[in-house]
């Protein structure tokens, strides 16, 4: 073990690393592509990809035209979820507006709304939601029902209520009132979920791309044979090739974490060490995949294409951008064999929930196994190709 380690940091190895570093330094494009795109992608994706439900345009048909009905409409528009846009004269006109997309939701208040409320009769208000986007519709539904519930609570006390006849015994039971609490994220900031998932996506994406291009480049230029003729062993060559992009991307990863903290204000509740170590593992997985791809493709262009088709399924089946629990059940087992999934779970839990290694060890172990397997497969492929 020690002897092997000794061999790895020999002069030969250092010379190889220096050669790689010089190559990277000389090629401004590689240097830039290692640092700039990941950060830009993080900031851009992080601010653009946002599932929050705000500013939905609300149309109203108020046939009641009373202070009470206006109170209800005002209550619906109180938070940022709905913005009152137009009052319509008829339901038909409002329906047309929904189908044209000018408004996202409509409320119809019947003409006997205030009268029935005053008399203590139940009133039904119709709500039309454009449910094309199921998520938006489901969240608006919960929101509307919450508003109406608290509106009913305010109705409970007016003097009209005292005149109501005692209700039959069966109906005299009390009601359960639900108090929802958002743990770890009381403000309900939706970007935290996306950016913590993006971290893994970026590590994987950039790891695969840089690894495959640096590996293929040497072969395309025909200089690989020259490297093989040096006294360095194949493992030394590979490790020396992997090390510089690994460290450079690692630095980029650290900067990305700073972006998370200072630009997106993600709380850093858990162990940063755990996050850094697992980030390194995730990066190794990416580099392993990229190297393996480079050994089966013939040109940089082919490698690029192959990576381009490998990454989307890895990302879409990772639960990094959308919750894994929302996937159809036949797809969910696939997430277990996806390093991005495990890294996403770890990043989210350590940063936002403050979980530690004791809570996350299955994911950490899985990531470790993937890193080892992927890197050894790529080394094996590389060796076989040259042998």
């Amino acid at each position: 073990m020690f002897a092997r380690f000794d061999r790895l940091v020999s002069h030969r190895f250092i010379a190889l690393v220096r050669k790689e570093l010089n190559q990277i330094k000389r090629d401004r494009r590689i240097m830039l592509s290692l640092i700039l795109p990941p950060l830009l992608q993080l900031m851009l994706f992080g601010s653009v990809m946002n599932p929050s439900v705000t500013n939905l345009q609300l149309g109203v048909v108020d046939d009641s035209r009373t202070p009470v009905s206006r109170d209800l409409v005002a209550a619906l528009g109180q938070s940022g979820t709905f913005r009152l846009r137009t009052l319509y004269a008829s339901t038909g006109a409002m329906g047309d507006a929904i189908s044209k997309g000018t408004i996202d939701a409509g409320v119809v208040i019947p003409y006997d709304f205030a009268r029935d409320l005053a008399r203590g009769r139940p009133v039904t208000v119709q709500v039309l939601l454009n449910a094309m986007n199921a998520n938006t519709a489901a969240i608006s539904q919960g929101y509307i029902q919450g508003v109406v519930q608290s509106f009913n609570q305010t109705l409970r006390h007016p003097p009209v209520q005292t005149a109501i006849q005692p209700m039959p015994a069966a109906a005299q039971r009390g009601v359960a009132l639900l108090k929802p609490t958002l743990l770890y994220n009381p403000g309900g900031v939706t970007t935290w979920f996306i950016v913590t998932g993006l971290l893994g996506v970026l590590l994987l994406m950039n790891g695969t791309i840089t690894a495959s291009t640096t590996m293929v480049k040497e072969r395309e230029a025909g200089t690989l044979e020259q490297l093989l003729m040096t006294p360095a062993s194949i493992s030394e060559i590979i490790v020396a090739k992997i090390a510089p992009p690994f460290f450079l991307l690692g630095i980029t990863g650290l900067v990305a974490m700073a972006v998370l903290q200072f630009y997106f204000h993600v709380p850093f509740r858990g162990s940063v060490t755990l996050l850094v170590v697992t980030s390194a593992l995730c990066l190794l997985c990416g580099i392993g995949i990229g190297t393996a791809v480079a050994t089966v493709t013939k040109s940089a262009q082919q490698a690029q294409l192959a990576i381009f088709f490998l990454n989307p399924p890895l990302i879409s089946l990772s639960g990094a951008l959308m919750p894994a629990e929302a996937m159809p059940s036949w797809m969910r087992p696939f997430t277990v064999v996806n390093p991005v999934y495990h890294y996403g779970v770890i990043a989210r839990a350590t940063l936002i929930k403050g979980s530690g290694f004791i809570d996350l060890w299955p994911n950490v172990v899985a990531l470790l196994i993937f890193a080892i397997v992927l890197v050894s497969v790529s080394v094996w492929r590389f060796r076989r190709q040259l042998g």
Partner: protein, 373 residues
């Protein structure tokens, strides 16, 4: 004269298609990969969670509390996992065993029976804020139905809501996302092939043969574009069959805007590919440019995943120029909303305008290089 010109266009198109059909990788790119992408992404894109593990801390243990728990157990959204009452729910959240906790306080049943209101708490893991909001909304629904079943009812005098989900009553995420992925595939693969074909002519210098031949810039560009329009339409039909059969998506209204805009859109993306290929005579670089326009812009700024209104204003204006944005809206209208021409006419127009712009740039690029006859 015109017949001759038409013949040359057709010849160019035929040459392009023959070249394509010989290349197995290209056929896979054109037909197989989009299909895989549609199947994978179309099924996996969803925000609405099902079967979310929650734990229950019942400090009351009365008939009423058990009935409430049963209501939660019956819901498709929640799955109750066992958890000892004496350990804190945070631990279950930290290791991901549970994403929510229902806490029923002592005396819950007694309060209900006495006609008083009783508070129940649902603590939701906020690390995924969207899911947390969904879950608290669903939990509210479960509690409401508990109240209704138990005679208390949500205030006998109160306001009740009758919510109608238009266009997607089952709240299926696939009905929203699958058409979007269809658009993404159509924005990616035809221009990718077009740009590779065009850049290859530049790389191999076969473009010089075109310059000195008697084919005009219009004929050449149009011939190329038409070939990839054909590729795009073939791809669109394959994907549509899949959409109809696998995802069970149906046309909601007048299909003419969709049909016309599909023709225009394939023209638009094919022209985009040819334009990029003409501008960058290097296959690798041209491919990256197409990936930026055909994938990144579509993915981020067309409303494919998340509503465009959530994009910060400083970036949102870019979406005005993103061709896929208009097509996505037309496709969603055709498959879900059914608004027809009055809702989408200007979007069809926008695609046509952007496509013509691409074509014009590609043509100018060719014109400049062509020898004067």
């Amino acid at each position: 004269m015109r017949i001759d010109s038409l013949k040359r266009v057709v010849a160019q198109t035929r040459k392009e298609l023959t070249e394509l059909l010989r290349d197995r990788l290209a056929i896979a790119l054109a037909l197989l990969l989009p299909l895989i992408q549609l199947a994978l992404l179309g099924s996996s894109f969803a925000l609405i969670v099902r079967d979310l593990p929650i734990i229950v801390q019942d400090y009351d243990d009365s008939t009423a509390s058990r009935e409430l728990i049963d209501q939660f157990r019956a819901s498709l959204t929640f799955r109750i996992v066992p958890w000892p009452t004496d350990s804190k729910p945070d631990i279950a959240f930290a290791n991901g065993q549970a994403r929510g906790a229902l806490v029923i306080p002592r005396d819950f049943g007694r309060h209900i029976a006495r006609g008083m209101n009783a508070d129940v708490q649902i603590i939701v893991d906020g690390s995924d804020a969207n899911t947390a909001k969904l879950v608290s909304g669903y939990a509210g629904g479960v509690v409401r139905s508990f109240n209704q079943a138990h005679g208390g009812g949500p205030m006998p005098t109160g306001v009740q809501t009758a919510i109608r989900f238009w266009y997607n009553p089952s709240l299926s995420s696939q009905k929203f996302y699958a058409p979007g992925i269809f658009v993404m595939a159509l924005s990616m693969f035809p221009p990718l092939l077009a740009t590779l074909a065009m850049a290859r002519e530049g790389e191999l210098k076969t473009i010089l043969q075109v310059y000195v031949s008697n084919i005009s810039a219009h004929e050449f560009v149009l011939g190329k574009v038409l070939a990839f329009v054909a590729v795009g339409l073939a791809e669109a039909s394959v994907l549509l069959v899949f959409l109809f059969s696998f995802f069970g998506i149906r046309l909601a209204g007048d299909p003419t805007p969709f049909v016309l805009s599909t023709l225009l859109y394939t023209f638009c993306v094919a022209s985009f590919g040819v334009m990029v290929g003409a501008a960058i005579p290097n296959q690798g670089a041209a491919m990256q440019a197409v990936m930026f326009g055909g994938f990144l812009l579509v993915f981020m700024l067309s409303g494919l995943m998340f509503p465009l209104s959530n994009v910060p204003v400083g970036l949102r204006w870019i979406s005005i120029l993103v061709w896929a944005r208009y097509y996505i809206e037309i496709v969603r209208d055709a498959f879900l909303q059914g608004g027809g021409w009055p809702a989408v006419w200007w979007k069809v127009l926008a695609i046509g305008v952007i496509g013509t712009g691409f074509y014009a740039v590609a043509w100018r690029r060719m014109r400049r290089m062509q020898l004067e006859m």
